[in-house]
């Protein structure tokens, strides 16, 4: 690293920061809803300080060198937070690109009249900043992936609720594909709930299952058998016409299982089994 370059940058640190801030604040993609201008300034200042301190001390521009670790850490931290806060890739990219722009601008002002030196130094800065941009994107994507992983976990947790529709009747709406791990969760929570509530009837509603192939059917049969072993009756409801035809063509035998087209008819069947009756009352309901 030539002495001219870092001297200039060290001296003009303030200018770089100011210019960078003005670029960021005037940008269309400024997200004041996600980050306050003060926070943005603190972030930017931290990065500029670390970057320029490193340019002055480090002799190499090789990002693999240990001396670059603090800069990379700060940058990585910023992009991961941005990914979580919901910044778009473009907005995160512009953050680092405008920094490059401001350094080049200051450099241009300082080394006027020496085009060859300017070109040489600009090229170094360019290479360095491009590498930093790549790091920004890598960490940004990593941050996004973490978000996705967390959501996947949340979905599998919330997607298997067991509902007590009536005393002695449980309902379990299944949404999405029924794979082996899902079946395990469904079966566990259903059997557990049967024990806890002492219910005699469980309704598995598969209206939300997009396709019933032989594996899904096998999982359903297993769940029903396990429920029966617990002394409860299991009804499968929500069988759509196209699913019914497909199951028949596949040759799956569900005749040992009580199946109903809708949750309502399954509930009616459950009421009949429990010898309950739902009817319209003659007494007029009191008005509020």
């Amino acid at each position: 690293m030539s002495t001219t370059l870092y001297k200039v940058l060290q001296k003009k640190k303030k200018n770089i920061l100011e210019y960078w801030m003005s670029l960021q604040l005037s940008d269309d993609g400024l997200r004041e809803d996600l980050i306050t201008n003060e926070d943005l300034r603190v972030q930017s200042e931290e990065l500029v300080n670390a970057l320029i301190a490193n340019l002055s001390e480090a002799s190499s521009l090789d990002l693999q060198a240990e001396s670059w670790d603090p800069v990379i850490e700060i940058l990585g931290g910023i992009s991961i937070t941005r990914a979580r806060q919901g910044f778009s890739p473009r907005e995160t990219g512009n953050f680092i690109f405008t920094l490059k722009e401001s350094i080049l601008q200051v450099l241009n002002e300082e080394i006027k009249g020496q085009p060859e030196v300017l070109f040489e130094e600009s090229r170094k800065i360019n290479r360095l900043m491009d590498n930093l941009s790549v790091i920004t994107f890598e960490t940004f994507i990593k941050g996004r992936e973490e978000v996705i992983l967390r959501q996947t976990d949340e979905i599998s947790e919330i997607s298997t609720p067991v509902i007590r529709v009536w005393d002695g009747i449980l309902a379990l709406p299944i949404i999405g594909t029924l794979d082996s791990s899902r079946t395990q969760v469904v079966m566990e929570s259903l059997l557990q709930e049967i024990v806890e509530t002492g219910s005699g009837i469980a309704i598995l509603d598969i209206s939300g299952v997009p396709a019933v192939d032989s594996l899904v059917a096998q999982h359903l049969i297993k769940t029903v058998s396990a429920t029966r072993l617990m002394g409860a009756e299991c009804i499968i409801s929500g069988i759509r016409p196209e699913i019914a035809q497909t199951v028949v063509h596949l040759g799956i035998d569900l005749s040992n299982i009580i199946t109903k087209a809708s949750l309502a008819s399954a509930l009616a069947y459950a009421f009949r089994t429990l010898r309950l009756e739902v009817r319209k009352s003659n007494i007029v309901a009191p008005k509020n």
């Binding site: 594909t177 794979d179 396709a211 192939d213 594996l215 059917a217 016409p241 497909t246 596949l250």
Partner: protein, 136 residues
């Protein structure tokens, strides 16, 4: 004469890819205005084969093609894997036969769900399954 209009290969490696493949297929089926029943049939049949591929061959590739013959449009699916292959195809195509602990309905069932079905397998080299469903 069957002409292939589009080709869309989908790599299948993990269990989540079953859902991904089905959604892709659904999009294509909706695009060529396949009826809901035929859609469900084709999707279920493909789902059987994709699951087989994952279970016995550790994944493979599923190719989704829109094909046309005269005035008919349809979807042709070709599943290629580099698994151990199937020793006895006649036995594998029989209802209720399974080397795993499944119902043994996947292969014969999916054959019943589509209009054309073809399976080729070589021990130690892999298996190719082709299925075709016309829109009507």
């Amino acid at each position: 004469m069957i002409i292939s209009l589009t080709k869309d290969p989908v790599t299948i490696q993990k269990e989540q890819d079953v859902v991904l493949f089905r959604n892709r297929l659904k999009e294509v089926a909706v695009k060529i205005k396949m009826g809901l029943l035929n859609q469900t049939r084709l999707i279920t049949a493909s789902s059987e084969i994709v699951r087989n591929m994952l279970r016995y061959a550790d994944g493979g590739v599923g190719l989704i093609e829109i094909v046309s013959r005269g005035r008919d449009n349809g979807i042709r699916l070709t599943f290629t894997d580099k698994g151990p292959g199937i020793a006895d195809l006649t036995l594998a195509m029989r209802d209720g036969y399974s080397t795993g602990k499944s119902l043994g309905l996947g292969l014969p069932g999916s054959k019943r769900l589509v209009d054309e079905f073809d399976i080729k397998s070589k021990l130690g080299e892999g298996t190719i399954v082709m299925m075709l469903k016309w829109t009507k």
